[in-house]
Structure formats: structure tokens, C-alpha cells
């Protein structure tokens, strides 16, 4: 049974090394014209012929929604899927901060080149320059598109668009819609998609989950999906398949992702031959509301802007259980201000997160379980007055109060880091095509543009750039330049994939063990969080790699999934996703183990400067790690990265 395969037996090598890969689709020459030249070189499909070509799009977030709407508009026949009850619910909706664009409306020195530069540098030199440059170029078109759709961005009294600076960037290039930018952009894409659904260009399948990929003659030709209401398993065939299924943050169980976010589509595609790149790049956000108990199912993010005025501290004394107002000033440790006097509470996300973890590991954490640090506004209230604080942070304080029942105007907030975004994903070339021809991957599901770390307000930009502007011409190019034979539902591959999917669900239901699916998810999440979270060590990763196969084996022996497969069965959905997380978690740890350097969202304790800063090793690791599935130890394919425009430099915040 492949689900219980253990990788790297006997404590030996957990992986093998294969050939290097190159992105053959990427044009060279001057970076400013690469995308234009690629588009010009792309083959076109005659408008009259487009309706004869079917494209499957899985997911309806910013990337998927935008792609489905645009492809249908161009005349392709689109079949689209989402596991939620409506395409409008995809988790892009929860993004708060904003979307970057190099409009330079402020005349503050912004440009496409500067956004490109900031993104490559912010990604800690682990992204492709060509991709990032294209992203920066397209950013301006996204704003035009969304404004025309009626997205109500914040405006000035002049009637023109307002922007703010975000995530420690020196220019004000972030467009926003109150604290609900993701919602507004997603609803824009959803409305465009709804228009195409109504017009018949998109056949939508809500509450339908992709459970496998159909590959025929080496090309992606369809998917197998389960109707979550009736339980019916159906194969769908197409000329190309697009995955827009988001990130894998829920491998940690607790994250700021939606409960349903999962890696099943990408992991199943990986098992069918798609390379999975850089899974160890995970982004952790420092200002989340800590969990209050074991039952907690998800974490909630609060805007980082809170760190502008709040002061972070813990009691100096270990295990201090006094209430915060009983702890005198002299017995508090404002550790960020102490360790990083220049930046204080405003150090970058990863540094702030790790520092909080160290304090809690050291026994100085506060709140339930000792997993939290104080974010105190007492000084800010003294300095600016409560009204001013309310004006600036009122809605965040309200949200905090709603969740914790504590009034942050009187009691310091408690915060703790949580997983927020995953930069890794399926490997794609410049055309966003995966290593399986005919399968394209867009948005958070791919690995392409953020390198080892994503800048604030760049996720929305990438999702929409991929969906509206990059993918559609590349799909056209693929269809126009490929001779696609016809496939039928009777094809033996189709039957066998349907059989495998059905068999797997059947096995999950047959176990009838004594542990709930969630209990395994929670245990896996805790393990990964402890050993492959904010700080990673070789010993810890090896420990996780020893434990995960055991846990997986236990899962397939002891999980209890009630009900049957021919009905709405949320436990079965969950168990099936957890089964994939239990496989994926291992690859995540292997990637983290192999990358013996620190960079961006990947911090190896062994690789740091004397000040505790992430220390990159460009000599050995300036590449994207693309993993090939074998059923046993995965094969590492390196894609070397070249930096011709932005020069490699180490960052420094102390």
C-alpha cells in the first residue's frame, strides 16, 4: 500500500539526487522585454476554434477565479471546480492587508524595477528574476482591471486611489480596501466568473473536490473528482488542466488558513509526476491570536500594523503567573527592543516570530499553555490617548475582544506566531506549466515568484497576475502548439484512476479504528510545528522524519471514519486530506533537512550569524529544489538560480 511507504529506511539518506533542471520556457536577453517576447513567440488559437478546447480549472480563488473568467471570455470551454459551496468562498477572501502595484501614484520613487528589486531581495534570493520582473510589470494592469470591475479600493478626497506603505517597504505602493482587500478582489473575480457561468462559458462544479489527476501519454488530460454531496466519483477530461488550489499551510493543523484548505490536489498531481519545489519555505506571521485550548481549530491573524504602536514583552521571571498589571516595569523584558535596538518592535516577521518562540521555549510565555507574549498598548494609550488608539486600531481591538473576551484597552493583548502562507508549491516553468505537460499551476499552489519569503501584499498580486494575465496566453500557446489526440472516458487510464480513488476512500471507511481523523491531523501538526516550524534543526527534522511514517501507519490502522462514501461525509473528506498531509509532511521535512542553510521562511538553527540572523549559503543552495516522487526516497532536481540584476547580499537588522 503506497500510503504506508516509509522513505529513507535505516536512517540513511532520505533522498537521492537527480539531474539538474532548467526552465526551458524562460526567454533570455534584457529582462524588461522578456515577457513581451515570450507572449509574441507564443502560438495563438483561432478564436473560432477556442470553443472546441476544454480547460479544467481547479479552485476559484484569486488565481483560479481570474483564470476561469478570462479563459471563458476568450472562448475556451471551461470546467471549474471548488470544494466550497460557492466559488466566492475561496480563502483568498481572508487576505487583509492589500495588493502591491508599481503605479508610482505617489511619485515617491517607485517603479516596476523597484518592485522587482524589492521582491527578489525580500524573497532572500531564492526566486527567479524573470518571473519576478514579469510580476512587477503586470502589477499595474491588475489595478486597472480591478477598478474597472468595481472593486471599491480606498480613495482620497480627490477621488483618486489611496495607497499605503506595507511590510517595511520604503514606498507607498499598496492599494487596499479597508482591511478586506482579499475579499473585495476575490468578489471581483467571482463576479467576472459568475458572468461567464451565466453565459454558459464556464461549467461550475461547487462542492466538488479533485482527488486525482489523469495523465495519458505523458500529458495531463483530466481529473477525477468527487461530488461532496452525492459522493459520486466522476472523471472529467480536457485539453489542459489548471491547478489553483492554494497552499499547504494546514499541514501544521493550526494555521491562519481556512479549515478546508488542503494539499490533496497538488499532492496527487505530485504523485502523478509533477515536481514539488521548495516545500520548506513557509511563512510565519508574528501577530496572531494565541490558541486558548486543545480544541482550537484555527488561528486568526491580526494586522502587523499593531507592532507600530504596541510594545512586546514577557515577564523576566520564568513561569510568572501574575496578571500583567501586577508585574512591575523592572520585571518586564521588552526583548525585541533589547536585542534589536535599531528596529525594536518593528523587526521583520520572521525575526519577531522566532524571538517570541525562544521566549516561550524558555518558559517565559504568557497565557494558556505559556504560548504567547504580550503586545502592550498602555504606553501608546498614555502617549496618544485612548481615542487616537481607537481610531487607528479600533477594529482590530474589537476582533481581539470578540475572540478572547479580553479588553485590549485595559489588558495587554497576547500574540503568538502562526503559519500564514507557503511559498513552496508545484514546480512550474516560466509559462506556469508543471513538469507534466498540459498541467499548469497558478497562485499559491505554485512555487514561482516569492522565493524563500513573500513580501506583504504580494500574494494577491501574484494570484491575479497568474490568473488574469500570465496563464491565459500560455494555455493558448500549449493548445496551439500541441497535437492532442482524443481521449475517451473508456480509456484504461481513466478507469484505473477512478478505481484507485474509489478504493482509497473505501479503505478509509473500512478501517473503523478508534481515533478521529482530526486527532491525527492535530498530532501531525504539532510535530511539524515543533520540528519544522520557526526554527529547524537537523536532529529535530530527523526526529520528525522518523515519527511521520509511524503516524501514517497508525492512521491507516486506527482512523475511524463514520458514514459511507455515497453521501455528504465531512469526516471522509477530512480523513482523505489528512492522509495526503501525512505524506506531504515528510517531503516538507526532507526539503528542510536537505537545505542546510537559512533563508527567508526557512530557518536552520545551524546556519545563523552571531547575531542570530538567518545565514544563507549561496555557494551551495542558490537553487530551487524540485522534488520528484518515487514512492520511496524522493529525487532532488536542482534548478540553479542566476542573479544578473539584483546582486546577492545578506540582510541585516541588528
Amino acid at each position: 500500500m503506497p500510503e504506508t511507504t516509509s522513505l529513507g529506511s535505516g536512517g540513511g539518506s532520505y533522498w537521492t539526487v537527480g539531474d539538474d533542471i532548467v526552465d526551458t520556457a524562460a526567454p533570455d536577453g534584457p529582462i524588461e522585454t522578456r515577457w513581451d517576447r515570450r507572449k509574441f513567440a507564443a502560438k495563438l488559437v483561432n478564436p473560432a476554434n477556442r470553443r472546441r478546447h476544454t480547460v479544467i480549472v481547479v479552485g476559484t480563488g484569486l488565481a483560479g477565479g481570474a483564470a476561469g473568467a478570462t479563459l471563458a471570455e476568450q472562448g475556451y470551454k471551461v470546467i471549474q471546480f471548488c470544494f466550497q459551496d460557492s466559488p466566492r468562498r475561496a480563502h483568498s477572501i481572508a487576505a487583509q492587508g492589500g495588493i502591491n502595484a508599481a503605479k508610482n501614484y505617489r511619485n515617491d520613487g517607485d517603479s516596476v524595477y523597484r518592485l522587482f528589486y524589492d521582491t527578489v531581495k525580500g524573497g532572500d534570493f531564492r526566486a527567479r528574476e524573470s518571473n519576478v520582473y514579469r510580476l512587477a510589470q503586470i502589477s499595474t494592469q491588475i489595478i486597472d482591471q480591478c477598478v474597472a470591475q468595481g472593486v471599491p479600493f480606498a480613495r482620497e478626497y480627490s477621488g483618486l486611489l489611496d495607497t499605503r506603505s506595507f511590510g517595511g517597504v520604503q514606498v507607498q505602493r499598496t492599494f487596499y480596501a479597508r482591511g478586506q482587500t482579499g475579499q473585495q478582489l476575490l468578489i471581483g473575480a467571482y463576479q467576472a466568473l459568475s458572468r461567464q457561468i451565466d453565459a454558459g462559458g464556464v461549467e461550475i462544479h461547487p462542492r466538488t473536490e479533485m482527488l486525482d489527476l489523469i495523465v495519458i501519454d505523458g500529458r495531463a488530460r483530466g481529473i477525477v473528482a468527487r461530488d461532496l454531496v452525492t459522493g459520486k466519483i466522476t472523471p472529467y477530461l480536457a485539453d489542459a488542466v489548471v491547478l489553483a488550489t492554494g497552499g499547504y499551510g494546514n499541514v501544521f493543523f493550526l494555521s491562519t488558513n481556512a479549515k478546508g484548505s488542503n494539499t490533496t490536489a497538488t499532492w496527487r498531481a505530485h504523485r502523478r509526476g509533477a515536481l514539488f519545489a521548495n516545500p520548506c519555505y513557509t511563512q510565519i506571521h508574528p501577530t496572531c491570536i494565541p490558541r486558548s485550548g486543545e480544541y482550537q481549530g484555527k488561528l486568526t491573524l491580526m494586522s502587523e500594523s499593531l507592532r507600530n504602536d504596541g510594545r512586546i514583552w514577557v515577564p523576566k521571571q520564568k513561569g510568572d503567573t501574575r496578571s500583567p498589571d501586577q508585574i512591575p516595569e523592572a520585571e518586564r523584558d521588552y526583548y525585541l527592543e533589547r536585542i534589536y535596538p535599531a528596529f525594536g518592535n518593528l523587526v521583520p516577521r520572521d525575526i519577531a516570530s522566532r524571538a517570541a518562540k525562544y521566549q516561550c521555549d524558555d518558559g517565559r510565555g504568557v497565557g494558556p499553555g505559556g504560548l504567547g507574549v504580550y503586545l502592550d498598548f498602555a504606553d501608546a494609550i498614555k502617549r496618544m490617548g485612548e481615542d487616537k488608539v481607537r481610531e487607528k486600531y479600533g477594529n482590530l481591538f474589537e476582533m481581539y475582544e470578540r475572540i478572547t473576551g479580553e479588553d485590549p484597552y485595559k489588558v495587554p493583548m497576547r500574540i503568538y506566531p502562526a503559519v500564514h502562507y507557503t511559498m513552496g508549491g508545484l514546480w512550474v516553468d516560466y509559462d506556469l506549466q508543471s513538469s507534466i505537460p498540459g498541467m499548469f499551476v497558478i497562485g499559491e499552489a505554485n512555487f514561482s515568484d516569492h522565493g524563500a519569503n513573500r513580501l506583504g501584499a504580494s500574494a494577491l498580486m501574484q494570484g491575479l497576475a497568474d490568473g488574469y494575465f500570465v496563464l491565459p496566453p500560455m494555455i493558448g500557446n500549449y493548445i496551439a502548439s500541441t497535437k492532442l489526440g482524443s481521449v475517451s472516458l473508456d480509456d484504461p487510464t481513466v478507469t484505473s484512476v477512478v478505481g484507485e480513488v474509489t478504493g482509497r476512500l473505501g479503505r478509509l471507511l473500512e478501517i473503523n479504528g478508534d481515533r478521529t481523523p482530526d486527532s491525527f491531523h492535530r498530532e501531525l501538526g504539532e510535530l511539524i510545528w515543533d520540528e519544522c516550524g520557526m526554527g529547524r534543526t537537523e536532529a529535530g527534522l530527523r526526529k520528525a522524519l522518523a515519527r511521520i511514517p509511524e503516524l501514517r501507519e497508525e492512521f491507516w490502522r486506527r482512523v475511524k471514519v463514520p458514514g459511507d462514501s455515497g453521501e455528504l461525509n465531512q469526516s471522509l473528506e477530512k480523513a482523505n486530506r489528512i492522509a495526503d498531509f501525512l505524506e506531504f509532511g515528510e517531503l516538507l521535512c526532507i526539503d528542510a533537512l536537505h537545505r542546510a542553510e537559512s533563508c527567508g521562511g526557512h530557518f536552520r538553527e545551524e546556519s545563523q550569524t552571531p547575531d542570530g540572523e538567518a545565514l544563507r549559503d549561496d555557494e551551495r543552495f542558490a537553487y530551487a529544489a524540485a522534488w520528484e516522487y518515487t514512492g520511496g526516497a524522493p529525487v532532488l532536481h536542482r534548478e540553479p538560480l542566476q542573479f544578473d540584476y539584483v546582486h546577492l547580499a545578506q540582510r541585516n537588522y541588528s
Binding site: 460557492s86 468562498r89 474597472a148 486543545e294 480544541y295 478521529t516
Partner: protein, 265 residues
């Protein structure tokens, strides 16, 4: 068999106060099933749990007892995706103002409380199972006209059409709708006027929405009627239940836009 003490029984942290509750939950296996309220005693509920985490805990216990867990819709659990929503003691999304079910916490309830939990009830929202309903009627209302037609890539420069800030803000207030359906659930008439009016108001206020202003409102109202929602009698229950506080004035605006559209036909 190796039976460890289940580490999976999620509880409050030791020493934290808990409450005991009686839940009466609507159980309905499928659309054809008649359905009934079923009573569950749920001891040891932490006041810090969200309402949905409380249901998670119930479900974990049900699974271990070999019963079918309660099906309910949920996803983001931060009050923005609009997936969750149940009627709690006769109130859509429960007792707390401007709060979705996922953001409602058990500290809003007392020890010994009996809590009735039901799905949204509306002919246009048929029950799929237990607390899960089919809200695709909302998607079809949006598909009928809740958009501005822009071919990707054809948009003019964003600053070419300034929008006065008060107009943009009013449009935004209406654009905050999360499509959860609480308005329909709370309306004594099962009307979806608030939902439809929010989208019509959002788009019709903006200069970008002007060219399709009349067709939009006509088609959306037609679609709404075709889905079998009830009529609006201006009771105002929808606004009270709306977790985003979409104002009742939007319904006035929808009526105005509709009258304008039919008189200009």
C-alpha cells in the same frame, strides 16, 4: 489492540472553567429526509471555544461513540468567507451583534443553557444535510447581473475615472456582504432583498457600473423572484441579523433603481 488514552479528546486547558450545555440540533440525513431536532448533552465546554469549535468537540465525541457527526458548513473561521451560519435559539448567527457563527464564542452562553441549533430555513436554500444548506440561488442572482463586464486586459488606466470618496465609501459598505444568507434566514418572509440590494447598490453607485445599471437591477430582481425567495415587507430583521451591517437603506435603493429601470424600459 494498543489503545492509548485518546490524545485527541480536545479539552480546555486544565483548571480553566467550563460549562455544561444541552444542545438540540436539527438532524436531517438528506433533502428527502424529514429531519428532527435531536438532543445532546455536552459537558465541559470552555467559554473560550468558538461556537464551531464547540460543534467540533461534539463531533469528535460522536465519532468515537460510533455516531454520525453533525454536518455544518464552515471554512475561514474568521467571519469573512460566509460559509458558516446556523440559527441559534431563533437568531441567525446567534445572539451577538455583527458576529458570524464562527466568531461567536461560548462565553455568550451560561452553564445549563439549552441551545437550539437549526439550519437556515428557506425554500430557496434547501437543506443538504443537518445544518448544511444549498445557497447556490445566491450565485445565480449574482450571475444574472451582479458584475461589471470588463474583458480582461481592456480596462482603462485606474485613475481615468475618479470616484468621489463618499460614493466609494458607500459602495464599499455594500460590498462588504459575505453572502452568508443570514438575511434570508432571519426574514420572516424568507426574502433575499438585502443580499440583492447590497450588490445592486455597490455596483450601481460606481461610475464603472453605470452602463449596465438598468439591466443589472432588472435581471437580478427577476432572478431573485425566480429562485422563490419571499417578498420584502420592510421588517428590518435582515439588517439586524447581517454580520456585516448592510443597511436597510440599500433596499430602498434597490427599489428606486428597479423603478427607474422599469420606467425607462
Amino acid at each position: 489492540m494498543d489503545v492509548r488514552a485518546p490524545r485527541d479528546e480536545p479539552t480546555a486547558l486544565e483548571g480553566a472553567p467550563t460549562v455544561n450545555l444541552t444542545l438540540r440540533i436539527w438532524r436531517q440525513r438528506g433533502p428527502e429526509d424529514r429531519g428532527a431536532m435531536v438532543t445532546y448533552d455536552l459537558p465541559d465546554v470552555s467559554p473560550d471555544m468558538s461556537f464551531l469549535e464547540m460543534l467540533d468537540v461534539l463531533n469528535e465525541r460522536l465519532i468515537l461513540e460510533g455516531e454520525d457527526p453533525v454536518a455544518f458548513d464552515h471554512d475561514c473561521r474568521e467571519g469573512i468567507c460566509g460559509a458558516c451560519g446556523v440559527v441559534i435559539n431563533g437568531q441567525a448567527h446567534g445572539p451577538r451583534d455583527r458576529t458570524t457563527t464562527c466568531q461567536l464564542h461560548m462565553r455568550s452562553f451560561n452553564d445549563g443553557d439549552v441551545i437550539d441549533v437549526e439550519p437556515w430555513r428557506a425554500g430557496a436554500f434547501p437543506v443538504v444535510r443537518d445544518l448544511v444548506v444549498d445557497r447556490s440561488s445566491f450565485d445565480r442572482i449574482i450571475g444574472a447581473g451582479g458584475y461589471i463586464s470588463v474583458v480582461t486586459g481592456s480596462a482603462p488606466e485606474a485613475h481615468s475615472t475618479p470616484v468621489p470618496k463618499p460614493v466609494a465609501d458607500a459602495a464599499f459598505d455594500n460590498a462588504t456582504c459575505i453572502g452568508c444568507g443570514a438575511c434570508v434566514a432571519a426574514c420572516p418572509n424568507g426574502s433575499s432583498m438585502l443580499f440583492t440590494s447590497a450588490k445592486v447598490t455597490h455596483l450601481n453607485l460606481l461610475p464603472q457600473g453605470a452602463p449596465e445599471r438598468e439591466t443589472r437591477v432588472r435581471n437580478m430582481v427577476e432572478a431573485m423572484d425566480a429562485e422563490g425567495f419571499g417578498g420584502c415587507t420592510n421588517t428590518g430583521e435582515c439588517t439586524v441579523a447581517c454580520p456585516k451591517g448592510i443597511p436597510l437603506t440599500s433596499i430602498g435603493n434597490l427599489n428606486r433603481e428597479y423603478l427607474r429601470a422599469v420606467t425607462r424600459r
